[in-house]
Symmetry: C2
Subunit: 100 residues, 2 copies
Amino acid sequence: MLQHPLLTKREYEMRARVMKALGHPTRLFMVDELSRGERCVADLTEMVGADMSTVSKHLTLLKEAGLVAGEKRGVQVFYRLKTPCVVKFFECIDAVLHAR
Amino acid sequence: MLQHPLLTKREYEMRARVMKALGHPTRLFMVDELSRGERCVADLTEMVGADMSTVSKHLTLLKEAGLVAGEKRGVQVFYRLKTPCVVKFFECIDAVLHAR
DNA sequence: CGAATACTTGGCGTGTTCGCCAAGTATTTT
DNA sequence: AAAATACTTGGCGAACACGCCAAGTATTCG
């Protein structure tokens, strides 16, 4: 990374942060689910089967990575996928998995 | 994840493992570099600027995730990218980053 | 205003990741 | 066979991630 970096160190760090955000089964599930439409935290919590605080933290992490956005409507917060291209990752990942 | 999972829990775990492997700046750099052609560990070590043992462990992790393959030739080990489609992730990631 | 609902945030224990150093293996060279 | 090169593996401390519970905030409803 010292000599002739293709990108800067900081750029790789930023990219890594996005990939890291997707590196958890629960967050991957939520992204998959959000690709079908917006969901509120309570719905996701029920689907995931964890504490709501845990789900909320996962969503915060995804939001900080720039992958989702949340909008408060009344007492609920609805999350949606900001960058649907992420869904295309899955095809490639499955190719990786099947090639083993 | 309990009710009506789009995929099984295990499938999300397997996918997460692949994404996790890409969730580190050094590994992301190496994948990027390997997309240009095979490289031996010493070359990558010099580029990354870390201990060779560290780089070797990163490569092992990428290999276990199914992303790269290593081939020993003489005293060197050359790594190559097994699934070039991973490179396409970067476009989307940058879209995510620029959309913030 | 008080209670209820839907979330977020703080804190904490546990487990995982990451980096280096040191030691081990394998291949080539002398 | 000994030395050198190119790795890999083990071990260890520091930092980070993850889960739950408890407490806090915000909005709505009676």
